[in-house]
């Protein structure tokens, strides 16, 4: 197996997640998702991302290889999966990702993450 860095310190409760701040409906703030994407920080704990980078998503998101939740540390995945969600979330790991802003004609109105180096 590939040697993995240990889990990042920190996050236990869902309400404390970095990108979800001030989002009572359980949807992360779009502004903070963008910030996570560009400043390359974890959506759960707000610290610089590690290697590999983890994304969680529904099977549909996994199939399309396009995720809406911000990038995470491997060790922060469980904190996000613990959030109430209608469907179970799958984890994928990648070395890198593309950040894709939505186009006006897109069926999907949200910015998304496209892993470009799945592990």
């Amino acid at each position: 197996m590939v040697a993995r860095r240990g889990p990042q310190p920190g996050v236990t409760t869902a309400s404390a997640l970095f990108a979800w701040e001030g989002a009572p409906d359980g949807v992360p703030s779009r502004r903070l998702v963008t910030r996570c994407a560009l400043a390359r920080v974890c959506g759960a704990c707000g610290r610089p991302l590690g290697h590999p980078i983890a994304f969680v998503g529904t099977s549909d998101e996994v199939a399309r290889n396009a995720f809406h939740l911000p990038p995470l540390h491997d060790g922060c995945v469980d904190a996000v999966r613990a959030l109430p969600a209608p469907v179970p979330l799958t984890v994928v790991r990648t070395a890198g990702f593309e950040f894709v802003r939505p186009g006006s004609g897109d069926a999907d109105p949200l910015p998304r993450f496209v892993p470009n180096s799945l592990l």
Binding site: V2, S59, D60, V62, V92, L118
Partner: protein, 373 residues
């Protein structure tokens, strides 16, 4: 973090100081000269193995074992500890098209503290582009990344008085490391090796095993060729190895074989005497019936037989399928099956509900099915 590292290295500097530790300390002392990089980042300019930032190794030799298998003899760089336990696997990261791909392979060489190399033996699997690259595309001199040895499928020291190894195909590699260790340490007790392969030509390490057999009277070797003799039936074990119940057993091979072994030992209420290593999928076994696989988003279709996984089928059809480990562990390849039935190759479970999540790397179609890809 910088500070963390300083603490952890201080902590590990306990009992004795070896020359290696001292040299490591010198290198760390030089940090201040190379900040924000590490001395190792510059030392790799001279020799790519002179770094312990990411473990590295150089492929010294590629020894062809059979038509489709080869042993890679790798000289590890700094930071490598040669004390793997016989039977463990290592991670190997190889650059293909600019990207590092990682897989794990059992070490086939015995552990030796003074050794300079380690060996892994790889069989090019039909579904594995990396194993094919390792066997057929890796030139001596290539620098690879390594991950430290891992795994519980190990031989205890001292070894048990009576042991049995049940091996199928390339499952021989961790067992070979154990046999070589027993040979080297002179602790070959009452050992029976039951080694199944499709044909004699595809049997890896056949000559070496014969030599070990000649050298050690206590080593019994049963060869089994399934192309001629059919799949080995465990019911015959009583004839071949009458005392199998009293032996500590290690089994490694294709999944269907391991499933059968596991069941057999469980029926005999001997689970605790059995050690299993599942590391590869044998896809030719008990497949599905096959069927037409439709990929909804691209509209592509492909006829897949019962031995072709959904992942392979998608790749053949040119559909961009997500994948990861390709052996059913990581779930990266999971997609939604909209309709139809698929079978899990590992356990034969069938999934026939609409809109179910399936792991495409280990499932085969049973009749027509549609995937949301």
């Amino acid at each position: 973090m910088f500070t963390d590292r300083v603490t952890s290295t201080t902590a590990s500097r306990d009992a004795q100081t070896t020359p290696r530790d001292r040299w490591g300390r010198v290198r760390r002392g030089l940090d201040q000269l190379t900040t924000p990089l590490l001395p190792d980042d510059y030392l790799t300019l001279i020799n790519p193995l002179w770094s312990s930032r990411e473990l590295r190794g150089r492929v010294e030799k590629v020894v062809r074992e059979t038509d489709d298998a080869a042993t890679l003899v790798i000289r590890p760089g700094w930071g490598w500890t040669y004390d793997h336990r016989p039977g463990q696997y290592v991670g190997i990261g190889v650059q293909v098209d600019g990207k590092f791909h990682w897989r794990s392979y059992s070490v086939s060489s015995p552990p030796k503290r003074s050794g300079r190399t380690l060996a892994i033996t790889v069989r090019a699997m039909p579904e594995g582009f990396l194993s094919d690259h390792l066997v057929n595309g890796l030139a001596p001199g290539t620098i690879v990344r390594l991950a430290l040895p891992n795994g519980d499928f190990v031989l205890p020291d001292p070894p048990p008085a009576r042991s049995l190894f049940l091996v199928g195909g390339s499952g021989i590699t961790p067992v070979m490391s154990m046999l070589r260790t027993l040979d080297r340490r002179g602790t070959m007790g009452d050992v029976t090796l039951h080694y199944a392969s499709t044909t004699p030509e595809r049997m890896i390490f056949r000559d070496e095993i014969a030599a070990l057999h000649a050298k050690h009277e206590a080593l019994t070797v049963h060869e089994w060729f399934s192309d001629e003799q059919g799949i080995f039936d465990l019911a015959r074990l009583d004839d071949l190895v009458p005392d199998w119940r009293r032996r500590e057993t290690w089994a490694c091979g294709p999944a269907p074989m391991l499933d059968a072994v596991e069941q057999h030992w469980r029926d005999a209420d001997l689970d605790d005497r059995l050690h299993l290593e599942r590391f590869s999928l044998q896809l030719k076994g008990d497949g599905g019936e096959g069927g037409l696989v439709t990929f909804q988003n691209t509209g592509r279709e492909v006829e897949a037989d019962g031995a072709t996984t959904l992942l392979e089928a998608g790749e053949q059809a040119g559909v961009g399928m997500p994948y990861g480990c390709r052996v059913g562990i990581c779930h990266t390849c999971t997609v939604t099956k909209i309709s139809g039935t698929v079978r899990d190759l590992r356990n034969g479970d069938e999934f026939d509900q609409p809109n179910e999540q399936v792991q495409t790397c280990v499932t085969v179609p049973v009749g027509p099915c549609t995937l949301n890809v």
